[in-house]
């Protein structure tokens, strides 16, 4: 949300696993995603299905995600359905790019890291951080 401050001309939707938090911060158009990580197949499957529903209905032109697994699914479906997709790896990943981030790279998302030392300037670039 910090990264998506001013897009008055865009129809913005925030898909999140924590819709209470999103509502609290005043963003109105919130979509809920079930939380999951890629080591829990059942939860991941449920999240994949729900996120496909959202992306299918909305048909976004652009999908931007900061992770994690639920964000990856939105990137994946966005990519398949023709959106421009951008992965911004979470600043929490200071040691290596997250698994979801590496998968996002694999499916052809444009990718940014928030740690300069993790950028390779080919597949993943550094263009600033939130901290």
């Amino acid at each position: 949300m910090l990264l998506m401050q001013d897009f008055p001309s865009c129809d913005l939707r925030f898909a999140t696993t924590d819709s209470d938090q999103a509502a609290h911060s005043g963003k109105v158009k919130v979509l809920s995603l079930p939380d999951c990580n890629l080591t829990q197949p059942i939860n991941a499957l449920r999240c994949a299905v729900v996120s496909l529903g959202h992306v299918w209905r909305i048909r976004p032109h652009v999908v931007v995600s900061t992770g994690a697994a639920p964000g990856f699914f939105c990137i994946l479906w966005g990519r398949i359905l023709g959106a421009q997709v951008l992965w911004i790896d979470s600043i929490a990943n200071a040691e290596r790019i997250s698994l979801s981030g590496r998968l996002a790279m694999l499916v052809g998302a444009k990718c940014l890291t928030q740690w300069e030392h993790l950028a390779d300037d080919a597949h993943i670039q550094f263009r600033g951080s939130v901290l």
């Binding site: 001013d6 938090q21 652009v62 911004i88 040691e95 740690w115």
Partner: protein, 161 residues
């Protein structure tokens, strides 16, 4: 008041127990969001999870936030101009899937208003430093502007410039 938080997903009893142990030395209230745990602190009030509004209110009132090295809490502390003490979770102790919190803490060491306790033995000292620090000045990431511009550019052009 000191607010202790370990996020909501995983317990982090090593931090909660250590804070419970040192509370009597500080003579101020400690309030803890413990995540899922069976440990009941004896020197501080605690709850597995506070609602977002209640948590925000507690964080606003706190003189210091003590936390696992989760970036969400670091960003919250920055926004509220609160000093923060970070103690990283360790994968070897079953506290997380990997040791990324060690890297996060290492890279944030030395920033204004951030005090890292590598483990519980360093916690008392870090809390003392954090309380002495007082409210921090507003500090915007020097590269946030650039990142916002790049994201905005991507939204309109589909390219990273």
């Amino acid at each position: 008041m000191i607010l202790i938080t370990v996020g909501m997903q995983l317990g982090f009893d090593r931090l909660i127990r250590a804070m419970d142990r040192i509370q009597p030395d500080f003579g101020i209230d400690f309030v803890a969001q413990t995540g899922p745990t069976s440990y009941v602190p004896s020197n501080m009030s605690s709850k597995a999870q506070f609602g977002p509004a209640e948590f925000e209110e507690l964080a606003s009132r706190a003189a210091l936030i003590v936390s696992h090295a989760g970036i969400g809490t670091v960003l919250l502390a920055r926004r509220l101009l609160k000093p923060i003490v970070l103690m990283p979770r360790r994968a070897g102790l079953g506290e997380h899937r990997n040791d990324h919190q060690l890297s996060t803490a290492a890279q944030l060491t030395g920033r204004r208003g951030i005090f890292v306790a590598v483990d519980e033995t360093e916690l008392r000292n870090a809390v003392t430093l954090g309380l002495a620090c007082g409210p921090i000045e507003h500090e915007i990431s020097p590269t946030l502007d650039r990142l916002q511009t790049v994201v905005a550019g991507f939204v309109t052009s589909g390219q990273l410039r």
